[in-house]
């Protein structure tokens, strides 16, 4: 038996875009236990809800995360709309789907780039981020913002996309699909990536279920869990089935995200084809009184916004359970028993977003 030592991992580490601290209890090169702690970027955003008008708070909800920002604003607005029994126009629901799926595309491409970079695959990193620029450009041209859009509001959306622009977006995505396929082939078939990810950080289907895993972590362990299956927004009208891969290792989680790129392209195409004409917002009168757990699917998994109002313009409570929080128990289990050298790849494989987790 080797000597037991504790190595701090993070909060600053080359593979961590955001700070999380892990105390790694090692025996020789083997991790026996990982003890997480967070709190470096806690902003108290949930408390701000008590000070801000519920309509203006959308801007704060969107800033919980700088990557899945738009879907946070959708989740928040959807919660308020359920409490106030507001039915948004169909066109607004379809526009929300389009921007949500663009968010997923740019988030997955960002993660794929970071994942490649963590393995020292610089060219693949640059390829993923170059393709991501296409998504960000479309977001900027349609909302004015690259990562913070500000286009979602209680009662609908703030801006429309003309049918001509929708057609050009559709053509642009069709044109870029072969490049995405070429990049996907490298992630899924390259021998080096295979060796670094296959059989590493395994989370079985039963463990993923017991540990409350969500998003690509759950789907990479063979669980068909995706909040889009609930049919929120316009998803109920779209042909959708989640990407589910068995294996439960880093490769499976990578494969889920790669294949979800094409699911998102398909969903955007469907939404553009089925886009109804009409208004993009309805007037909102009064204040929310009641509570609702609003669930949506972010790139990293299911997010839950709990919203509670008492009939005044300030909400009583806004609590957000983010996918990264839900995936921490799974991460702790994946790390127990792994080699120290595999820790960065395993940590990155859950696509941790600490900004989300801490709010």
């Amino acid at each position: 038996m080797g000597r037991e030592i504790v190595i701090p991992f993070g909060p600053q580490h080359p593979v961590l875009p955001e700070p999380i601290h892990l105390d790694l209890v090692l025996e020789d090169e083997m991790v026996k236990e990982a003890i997480p702690s967070i709190g470096y970027i806690h902003r108290g955003l949930e408390k701000l809800v008590e000070k801000r008008d519920f309509k203006n708070y959308v801007y704060i909800a969107e800033r919980i995360c700088g990557i899945c920002s738009f879907i946070h604003s959708v989740s928040y607005c959807q919660g308020i709309e359920n409490i106030m029994e507001i039915t948004i126009p169909d066109r607004a629901a379809y526009l929300r789907v389009i921007w949500s799926e663009y968010s997923r595309l740019h988030s997955h491409l960002l993660w794929l780039g970071l994942f490649a970079d963590a393995m020292g695959f610089e060219n693949l990193f640059m390829t993923a981020w170059r393709l991501r620029e296409h998504m960000l450009n479309d977001m900027e041209e349609t909302t004015g913002g690259r990562v913070i859009q500000g286009s979602c509001k209680v009662g609908g959306v703030r801006c429309d996309i003309s049918n001509d622009k929708l057609a050009s977006m559709s053509a642009g995505l069709t044109a870029i699909e072969p490049e995405l396929s070429e990049m996907a082939g490298v992630f899924l078939e390259d021998e080096t990536i295979d060796m670094r990810t296959r059989g590493v950080g395994v989370l079985s289907k039963d463990s993923a279920w017991d540990l409350g895993a969500v998003g690509p972590v759950a789907r990479g362990s063979g669980i068909a869990l995706d909040a889009r299956m609930t049919g929120y927004g316009a998803y109920e009208h779209l042909d959708f089935s989640p990407v589910v891969i068995s294996g439960g290792d880093c490769y499976a989680r990578c494969r889920v995200r790669v294949e979800e790129l094409f699911t998102s392209l398909d969903l955007i195409g469907q939404a553009i084809t089925m886009m109804p004409d009409g208004d993009i917002e309805v007037p909102v009168r009064g204040n929310p009184s009641g509570e609702f757990f609003s669930r949506t699917e972010q790139p990293r998994g299911e997010v839950v916004h709990y919203i509670r109002g008492n009939g005044t313009k300030n909400l009583l409570r806004h609590r957000v359970r983010t996918p990264t929080t839900a995936n921490i128990p799974g991460l702790v289990q994946m790390l127990a028993g792994c080699e120290l050298a595999n820790v960065p790849v395993i940590v990155l494989s859950i696509d941790p977003c600490i900004g989300c987790a801490e709010r």
Partner: protein, 129 residues
């Protein structure tokens, strides 16, 4: 637009483990455990899902109440129970992975307890604005 039906059942804290066990035996997934302070009371919601149906169990307690941990049934709850302890100061007994207040590093102890600005959040003249 589909509006999701959600149920919330309020239970006394002594029945918590029995009720959570029923959810566990019925193969419900633990979605989250969330906490909030409303006036002097603390509410903890245990959210579950099965076949896309969303259900909640809710307990209402005061800050001194020790809450039984549900980690023996749902191990994932250790994250939420440690978070609630660190932010609100609620004690859980029987927790399978207790980080002893070191999970969330905060400058002030229990920063979410008793920091509600009740005047702002409950100001009656703002109704209808």
């Amino acid at each position: 637009m589909t509006i999701e039906k959600q149920t919330t059942v309020v239970i006394p804290v002594d029945l918590l483990l029995d009720e959570v066990k029923k959810m566990h035996d019925a193969k419900y997934r633990l979605v989250q455990v969330g906490c909030g302070q409303f006036k002097d009371q603390i509410e903890i919601n245990y959210s579950f899902e099965r076949d896309l149906v969303f259900s909640n169990l809710r307990i209402t307690i005061d800050k001194e109440t020790q809450v039984p941990s549900v980690t023996d049934l749902y191990h994932a709850a250790f994250v939420y129970e440690n978070e609630i302890h660190d932010l609100f100061g609620i004690g859980f007994f029987g927790i399978s992975l207790d980080y002893q207040g070191t999970f969330i590093r905060t400058k002030d102890k229990h920063p979410f307890y008793n920091t509600i600005n009740k005047e702002d959040s409950l100001r009656p003249e703002e109704e209808g604005s």
